[in-house]
């Protein structure tokens, strides 16, 4: 049983490595991993790898990260041989001398486990310094990298992926809001119950699904560096369009422009390009003033069934009081207010600008939207509780 305990300890260490690489591993999964290891040959690296992968990976996209962690954690020299040879060679100096092998199957197996474990422990021993896990690759890189870091020629590929992810998410949400035929379907179970005393069905019970779509209002900062992020957000949300009742889009830098009609046509892509034309180049961002314009002219678009998304870095050249006041007015009427700040993707960023500091307390959700992974996550917040 000592073996089992050591395995557990080793797995907890491995779990920490996985989590550090962004894999959401639960303790329950780690316990399953321990049980899984008891089912395989611990001396066979390929088997240990497959067993752990089966238990700890839960979507295809996690596989590359898992592979890297496994390589890093289980580091015995592959050149010494793949399975038994390499493993024994790597740990021989410490593991085997004190405990001469006991006879019989059980003893041998126990020893195997112990030898293998020495290796796991090695990984765990370096807890202080983070385990070195090699860099990311291809698709995964596309998911995690900030939009602004992609070279121009790769942007099309990223845009394609954005739409693909959005469509997959749209299916997930849209179905449960699907309209049903008038009156819904007959619920036989409840009809039977209701008519039990009568001997035949006189009164039909029906059921239908509720259908309540959420409206979206987007306020996109298109000044300077925000432009690129706005484009990806727009692309993403428009691919999700059929999930929402209506999407209203405004851009702002120093003044507010409504671009909903522009984006509604079939040639949506070229419309996105034309966005540049409506941009005002006068420099500086007046978020507060733009929001005030919105509240005054378009305030009727916002009600309890509306989610308002503001995408901006919060660099406001106007008065923070105005911004705070307008945000409050928005928050009072909207179902939910989400502020997206791509700078949040940078771990060292703190929302200290005056504008951001003023707006933050009035925001229901504050997120990054700087890469594909964060856009995907955003979709989960686009509901009104």
């Amino acid at each position: 049983m000592a073996v089992a305990r050591d395995l557990t300890r080793a797995m907890l260490g491995f779990g920490a490595t996985l989590r550090a690489s962004g894999l959401p591993v639960t303790t329950g999964a780690l316990m399953d991993a321990v049980r899984a290891l008891e089912m395989v040959d611990l001396m066979d690296r390929a088997q240990v790898y497959l067993a752990l992968r089966t238990v700890l990976v839960s979507r295809m996209e996690e596989q590359p990260a898992f592979d890297r962690c496994f390589e890093a954690f289980w580091k015995f020299q592959a050149d010494d041989g793949q399975g038994l040879d390499g493993l024994v060679a790597a740990v021989q100096p410490r593991g085997s001398e004190e405990e001469p092998p006991t006879g019989g199957m059980e003893g041998a197996q126990q020893k195997q486990a112990q030898i293998a474990l020495e290796d796991w422990d090695e990984g765990e021993a370096q807890e202080g310094e983070p385990l070195e896990v090699p860099g990311q690759s291809d698709r995964e890189m596309l998911m995690e990298h900030d939009f602004s870091t992609f070279p121009v020629e790769q942007l099309d590929e990223v845009a394609r992926l954005t739409v693909q992810i959005a469509k997959r998410l749209a299916r997930r949400v849209s179905r449960r809001r699907k309209p049903t035929r008038r009156g819904g379907v007959v619920d036989l179970r409840r009809s039977m119950r209701a008519n039990l005393t009568r001997g035949e069905i006189i009164e039909l019970r029906r059921r239908s699904r509720r259908r309540r779509k959420v409206r979206l209002v987007l306020l996109c900062d298109v000044s300077g560096s925000m432009d690129l992020y706005s484009r990806f957000l727009l692309q993403f949300l428009y691919a999700l369009q059929n999930v929402f009742g209506r999407v209203e889009t405004f851009t702002f830098a120093t003044r507010l422009t409504r671009v909903s009609e522009l984006l509604r046509g079939p040639s949506y892509k070229s419309a996105l390009r034309r966005l540049t034309e409506v941009r005002d180049w006068s420099g500086g961002t007046r978020i507060g003033d733009s929001l005030r314009d919105f509240n005054r002219e378009w305030g009727h678009l916002v009600n309890r069934r509306t989610i308002v998304l503001v995408l901006s870095d919060g660099w406001d050249t106007g008065e923070p009081e105005v911004l705070a006041q307008e945000m409050l007015s928005l928050k009072r009427r909207a179902g939910r207010v989400i502020w997206l700040n791509p700078l949040l993707g940078n771990p060292s960023y703190e929302p200290l600008t005056r504008g951001m500091a003023a707006a933050l307390p009035l925001v229901d959700h504050f997120a990054a939207a700087h890469n594909l992974a964060s856009l995907r996550e955003l979709a989960g917040h686009l509901t009104i509780r």
Binding site: A36, M39, D41, Q47, L50, T54, M192, L196, I201
Partner: protein, 296 residues
């Protein structure tokens, strides 16, 4: 290699399923850890087959729940046999049975229609294999409901009581990734991603499943398919297409690929008008050599 896993591989091969270590391992763990196994992959890579082969190996029954849009708990779990109940009430009209007695009669097991989930739970004897096919087609609410059933393996029918599985079934879920599945469901399951087969595996599949195909043709077909899958098509062909094509070519008594033959039979490989055009263009520019060039 652990004997059990070796045995699973052998049994899968014996059941005409060309396997690899990853598939064998996940089946082994699903059986020993008694956890549901979620299998994802492109259409036509043999996800459903895994469950069928597993049932065959365990010599137990396969209970299949095909998911579709709008599938709800009643259709998956149980339903009362309403026509039979109605008829029974009619027949009982003239008797002197009390209402409670009538009610007890029509809400008793003979009037219960067991749907796949209840069937799998109430099965006595060897636990069956429960295949929940294409879970991504079902709605999200159904997924949540399924999660509940999968964690407890018990079902409460208000009129009868709670039915608990004496031995939980082996559960296989498949998904084509039409829709994202919830993290909760994923966490509950073991996971297997089946990719398109590599060259060697596909050659094995072709020679195994298409009688009369010769070695050279099988290799050329597999190489061709490998190249086709690197082209960005609307619908990437799966193993099913490979087998269709191999079958067609063999019945034409072909023993190798040439341009004319490929052009004539391209409909077996890609089934989308634009894809056919695209592939034809690639074939005329690069020639067949490009597709089977890497042949060893």
């Amino acid at each position: 290699m652990r004997a059990e896993i070796k045995k699973i591989e052998e049994m899968m091969e014996a059941a005409e399923y060309v396997t690899d270590p990853a598939i064998a391992m996940s089946v082994h763990l699903a059986m020993t850890l008694k956890k549901p196994l979620l299998i994802e992959g492109h259409a036509g890579v043999g996800k459903t087959e895994v469950a069928k082969v597993m049932a065959k190996m365990l010599e137990t029954s396969l209970i299949r729940l095909q998911c579709y849009e709008g599938l709800d708990a009643a259709q998956a779990l149980y339903e009362w046999n309403y026509p039979k109940q109605l008829l029974h009430i009619k027949l009982e009209e003239s008797t002197s049975h009390s209402l409670t007695e009538k009610e007890a009669a029509i809400f008793s097991p003979p009037f219960l229609i067991k749907r796949p989930l209840l069937q799998a739970i109430s099965e006595t004897g060897t636990p069956p294999v429960l295949l929940i096919d294409e879970i991504d087609r079902a709605d999200e609410e159904f997924e949540a409901f399924l999660l509940e059933v999968l964690s407890e393996f018990q079902v409460t029918i208000p009129e009868i009581g709670t039915i608990k599985a004496t031995q939980p079934p082996y559960v296989i879920l498949t998904s084509n990734r039409i829709r994202e599945l919830s993290d909760a469901l994923r966490r509950r399951c073991l996971y297997l991603w089946i990719d398109f087969p590599g060259f060697e595996k596909e050659v094995r599949i072709v020679t195994r499943k298409v009688p009369g195909v010769n070695e050279r043709l099988a290799r050329e077909i597999s190489r061709f398919m490998e190249t086709v899958r690197t082209i960005r098509l609307a619908k990437v062909p799966g193993v099913a297409e490979t087998l269709d094509w191999a079958q067609a070519l063999t019945s034409l008594h072909a023993d190798h690929l040439d341009e004319e033959l490929v052009a004539e039979t391209l409909g077996c490989v890609v089934k989308d008008a634009d894809d056919v055009k695209r592939l034809k263009r690639e074939l005329t520019t690069g020639g067949i050599a490009r597709f089977v060039a890497a042949q060893s």
